[in-house]
Symmetry: C2
Subunit: 303 residues, 2 copies
């Protein structure tokens, strides 16, 4: 019995499949199979029932599962309370929404590597909903996304807010001054996927003005939405700070609206009992980075 075997068993039991555990552990199926066989041999007990195609946990396996949780949490606690930050090691799966990639992400990644040089990151951009699901399933350790993940089993830190504004190409010849939903409904809208935060915000805004836009094209990224808007294919909702270049060059124009678009609050979230101690550190670090970022912005504004 050793940690690797226990950890492997834990994920195989939790994910209900050797294949999934292998993926989670960056190992092969055969390695997982072997580690669990060794564990079973060392106890002389079957932990999984292999008579069916997919291995199902046995009663003894369920018993070990409870112990494994204790053991792995204790091990995580030891590492967390003893180890120096610059010796923390392991792989952190960090998921984030697109808004994050163009705002705090580069600085955060840089800071993580400075503070935790041995930690390896697995970065993945996805829609918020997808991120939340994967945080729940344990396939991500930390997520950075708009909104808050409900539930007491998560640790969250606010990252600050990102301003969003309607934008369009000057070619579109939108009227000057503050536009209402009813004013804007004439133009085609470019949004992210139907399930996204972006899409809902847009729909809510139009509904609040009792307006209904004729057409909402969807795509899967703000960058694409921006390029479509630059091409004059419609209006879209973007964070100005991420598209400052396009605004300065005149490719995109910010449209003032009434009511104004709400700023989006972003948070860093991880599971409170994440087996990866670094995860919690990174959530706190994300906040630090965004706080620092905020103060820089304020300085710039003061100049």
């Amino acid at each position: 019995m050793n940690f690797k075997q226990i950890e492997t068993f834990y994920w195989a039991a939790k994910l209900g499949s050797f294949t999934a555990a292998a993926e989670r552990l960056n190992a092969t199926q055969s390695t997982v199979s072997m580690r669990i066989q060794d564990l079973e041999y060392s106890f002389g007990v079957a932990l999984f029932d292999r008579s069916q195609r997919s291995a199902r946990i046995t009663a003894k396996g369920r018993e070990l599962m409870r112990y494994s949780e204790q053991l792995l949490h204790l091990a995580a606690e030891i590492r967390e309370s003893l180890a120096e930050t610059d010796t923390m090691t392991g792989t952190v799966r960090l998921g984030f929404a697109e808004v994050i990639s163009s705002t705090w992400l580069p600085e955060l990644v840089k800071t993580i590597h400075e503070r935790y040089p041995r930690v390896v990151l697995e970065l993945d951009e996805a829609l918020t909903q997808d991120l939340v699901e994967r945080l729940h399933s344990g396939s991500l350790d930390v997520i950075l996304a708009p909104g808050r993940v409900p539930g007491y089993t998560f640790t969250a830190q606010p990252l600050g807010t990102v301003e969003f504004a309607w934008m369009a190409s000057p070619k579109l010849d939108l009227p000057e001054g503050k536009l209402t939903p009813k004013d804007l409904q004439r133009w085609p809208v470019i949004a992210l996927s139907r399930e996204s935060f972006h899409h809902t915000t847009i729909e809510d805004w139009f509904r609040s003005g009792k307006a209904h836009c004729q057409r909402i094209d969807t795509c899967k990224s703000l960058v694409i939405a921006a390029s479509l808007a630059v091409a004059g294919l419609g209006v879209t909702l973007l964070p100005p700070r991420c598209f400052a270049r396009e605004i300065r060059s005149g490719e995109l124009r910010v449209i003032e609206t009434d009511p104004p678009m709400p700023a989006v609050e972003c948070t860093a979230t991880c599971s409170v009992d994440s087996l990866q101690p670094v995860a919690r550190h990174i959530v706190d670090l994300a906040r630090e980075v965004s706080d620092f970022d905020k103060s820089v912005e304020m300085e710039l504004a003061a100049e």
Copy 2:
């Protein structure tokens, strides 16, 4: 960080020396040194202060010590509650008094090997006092000895009693009938070492009869005491069941006494939180074996 490293650290910290830990773990000094260095490297923290000749534990080391206890006990608990008895493995250090070697020991060892084929035994005979000390220091896992080890931190099982009787060679020409301490004080006495149970029992008996024996020779084993008695060098106190052959052959004669010699109660003892789960099993097994032995004796008596 792995179990081996933690276990090694635990013993090095507990015994206060890498050398002692190496001995305890059946490994070399250099291995212990390496395992602890690896552990320190993985945490980026010094667990021992090596500026002096013998390594002394640091504050961080003391912190890890508390965690290590938890971790090792949890691991022991897992093995104990999950593993089949015939898959239990490890080395058990079994200490016993001489009375035990000639009574229950052979049967016990046989039964242990039947029931726990993977368990390796390290047997050692010693005086009771020595055994108790070594149980306290952790250098023995289980002891079988006369009397009871005081304290709540030990698990004990009674093994039953062993009769003791005064014996001497017929050459000595002792009077017939029941002899009192005052009758017996004329002859030289052969006892075990001054600190032994044997010695104290003899002194107490003489004192109870307000007698005082002229001379008590001591040796370190009952077998030697018996051979001295056979040679006619004095009277000694022996368990008749262990020297049945000498009695039958007439080399030794049992001396009836008044008051009669008290039977000695023997117990199997191990630490309640022994890191070796098999230790507790063996204590229970020792009782089983002695119970079985008792029933056999009774059958023999009935015939």
